[in-house]
């Protein structure tokens, strides 16, 4: 297991490097002059030029990339052009909200998607199966913000059950946390639950058709036991893997959801930075979220290895 973990982590390093290279290259190509924004409305061209040099914007690509990498190694993601604050600090302030949002959305989707998909696979063509198929298609056909507005209208505006905006840390006020997190998490969970339900259904269909399930049935084991112990134990790896890949759906959805629900998270930071052309922040957040994605998948791979002895080989 340790060997596997080391190998898996080692394999993530070149990917992480490629992410860094891509993110840097993307924003290297960005037009516009961050120095001009930083200097403000009243600055003269000479001021802007001075700032350009101070920011190192006049140096060649490779030099800037290496410099940036060196900064990364020290946790320095640069400085926001717009606010003048370190990007790492901006990210640090917002990690909790996004992490909690994603975690809650994952829990909600898992709690809905896995049982629904399993039920659907147990009785192909049955009610649960149809529901998963229809829900699956719908889940991918409605834009996140519409769902957000719909939920906000129903549960915040009409019923007033939940808060419509903001974020409260669960470590400060758990009830407040629930009040603020449920709607956005449910919004995010919509497509993700559909994804999980579909992949669970497909995986379980495949696994329930496998020889060892037949063996288990021939042993006279209880059907529910077979589905849960023999079926899900095998389905866990593919489901988890898809959940990891699907974290991209969550991260992408967070960009919109956090804007709709006014959550001070990384998604909103991205949107704000994009609208302001605050390139160092875009760069930093994109990189951070990509690393987060890599890390999530790394963790999931390790989890899979813990569940499935074959993976460890």
């Amino acid at each position: 297991m340790l060997g596997y973990a080391i190998r898996r982590i080692a394999a993530a390093v070149p990917v992480a490097f490629c992410v860094a290279l891509l993110v840097f290259a993307l924003l290297y190509l960005a037009p516009g002059d961050p120095a001009a924004v930083m200097a403000g409305d009243a600055a003269s061209p000479a001021d802007i030029e001075k700032l350009r040099i101070a920011l190192g914007l006049d140096r060649p690509f490779l030099e800037r990339f290496l410099h940036w990498l060196a900064g990364l190694a020290h946790g320095d993601l640069g400085t926001s052009v717009f606010t003048g604050l370190p990007v790492s600090m901006l990210i640090g302030q917002r990690v909790l909200a996004t992490a909690m949002l994603m975690l809650t959305a994952m829990l909600i989707s898992g709690a809905i998607g896995i049982p629904a998909g399993t039920l659907a696979a147990c009785r192909p063509g049955g009610i649960a199966d149809r529901a998963v198929l229809i829900g699956g298609v719908l889940g991918f056909s409605v834009p996140v913000f519409l769902i957000g507005y719909l939920l906000a209208y129903l549960f915040a505006y009409r019923l007033g059950w939940f808060a419509v905006q903001g974020f409260t840390s669960p470590f400060v006020d758990f009830v407040g946390f629930l009040r603020t997190i449920i709607l956005p998490a449910a919004t995010l969970a919509f497509a993700y639950a559909a994804l999980i339900a579909r992949i669970t259904r497909a995986t379980m269909l495949e696994i329930l058709a496998q020889d060892h399930i037949r063996t288990a049935r021939a042993k006279g084991l209880d059907e529910a036991y077979i589905v849960i112990v023999h079926g899900l134990s095998n389905a866990a790896t593919p489901i988890l893997t898809i959940m990891g890949m699907g974290a991209a759906v969550l991260l992408g959805g967070a960009v919109v959801t956090e804007t709709v629900f006014g959550i001070p998270g990384l998604g909103r930071l991205t949107v704000d930075a994009v609208l302001r052309r605050d390139y160092p922040v875009i760069q930093g957040v994109t990189l951070f979220l990509a690393f987060l994605f890599v890390a999530i998948n790394l963790l999931i791979d390790l989890l899979c290895a813990a569940i499935d002895p074959r993976v460890r080989q």
Binding site: P31, S141, Y149, A202, V256
Partner: protein, 270 residues
């Protein structure tokens, strides 16, 4: 052919055909209404006989705008599906067939894939000027890694199959093997993937516009119309609702077709 999937497939195709018709016939259906005509006096009117979908915040006719929006959205969907599938397939085939390049290409693809599509598209839009073609390019790049991975995986599966080895033994050159033996056998799954990418591109365009990083707002895409209506959905829901309805129905149509095709090609796929 299985009966299951026939109804969704027919429904999906019907939706897409209808949308394509609306998009093509937009100038005819819109009559003399100009989608860009600004009439501040007729601002944000609700649906009426003369203006079936009402007007938007600048008094422009929503019905015409939504019809013209179909052009944009379908163009984005189709454009991205084609471009991403073509580019992804080529990359995937190169990676899947040329062993030496596989590692480098796939690391880059993995890297690209680690940036969630919405984020990547938004970031690209921050770098590029907002135009229809740039939106298509940005979404294409965002969707590209998925196709490339699928294509590579499919190529590797197929190339491991014995009929490909038989073709090698039969003296078939690499191009023949790729084009005659591998491509036709991965085409089905690529086609299915392309349909999903089309759906997701239409959705992504809407999201980009919603955020304010998409197609210029002068171009009436569904996303743009919705972005405009978002601030007042509580009082003027029609501005948001009509394009949203069209968007959802179209994406639903594409997804239905994609699902049905997948069920046909690969009944157990997800």
């Amino acid at each position: 052919m299985s009966r299951r999937g026939a109804v969704p497939l027919a429904l999906g195709l019907a939706i897409l055909l209808a949308m394509a018709f609306l998009a093509v016939a937009a100038p005819l259906l819109g009559g003399d209404r100009d989608p860009g005509l600004i009439l501040p006096a007729e601002r944000a009117l609700g649906p009426s006989f003369a203006r079936p979908f009402g007007t938007d915040l600048l008094g422009r006719d929503l019905f015409t705008r939504v019809l013209y929006g179909a052009r944009v959205s379908l163009l984005v969907g189709l454009g991205v599906a084609l471009a991403a599938t073509a580019a992804g397939t080529i990359i995937g085939m190169i990676a899947g067939y040329v062993r030496g390049l596989d590692g480098v290409i796939m690391r880059l693809i993995d890297g690209l894939m680690s940036i969630p599509p919405v984020l990547l598209a938004v970031t690209l839009m921050a770098v590029m000027r907002g135009s229809l073609w740039n939106v298509i390019a940005a979404i294409t790049l965002a969707e590209l890694p998925r196709v490339a991975r699928l294509a590579r995986a499919s190529v590797q599966t197929v190339r491991g199959q014995i009929f490909v080895q038989a073709a090698i033994v039969s003296g078939a050159p690499t191009t023949t093997i790729l084009l005659r033996h591998i491509l036709p056998n991965i085409a089905a799954s690529l086609f299915v993937q392309a349909s999903f990418i089309g759906a997701s591109a239409i959705m992504l365009e809407a999201v980009l516009s919603f955020i304010g990083a998409g197609i210029p707002p002068t171009i009436p895409s569904w996303g743009n119309i919705m972005a405009e209506g978002r601030s007042l959905w509580q009082v003027k829901p029609h501005i948001l609702a009509f394009p949203a309805l069209f968007l959802c129905v179209t994406v639903l149509g594409v997804n239905l077709v994609g699902d049905a095709l997948r069920d046909r090609f690969d009944p157990r796929g997800a």
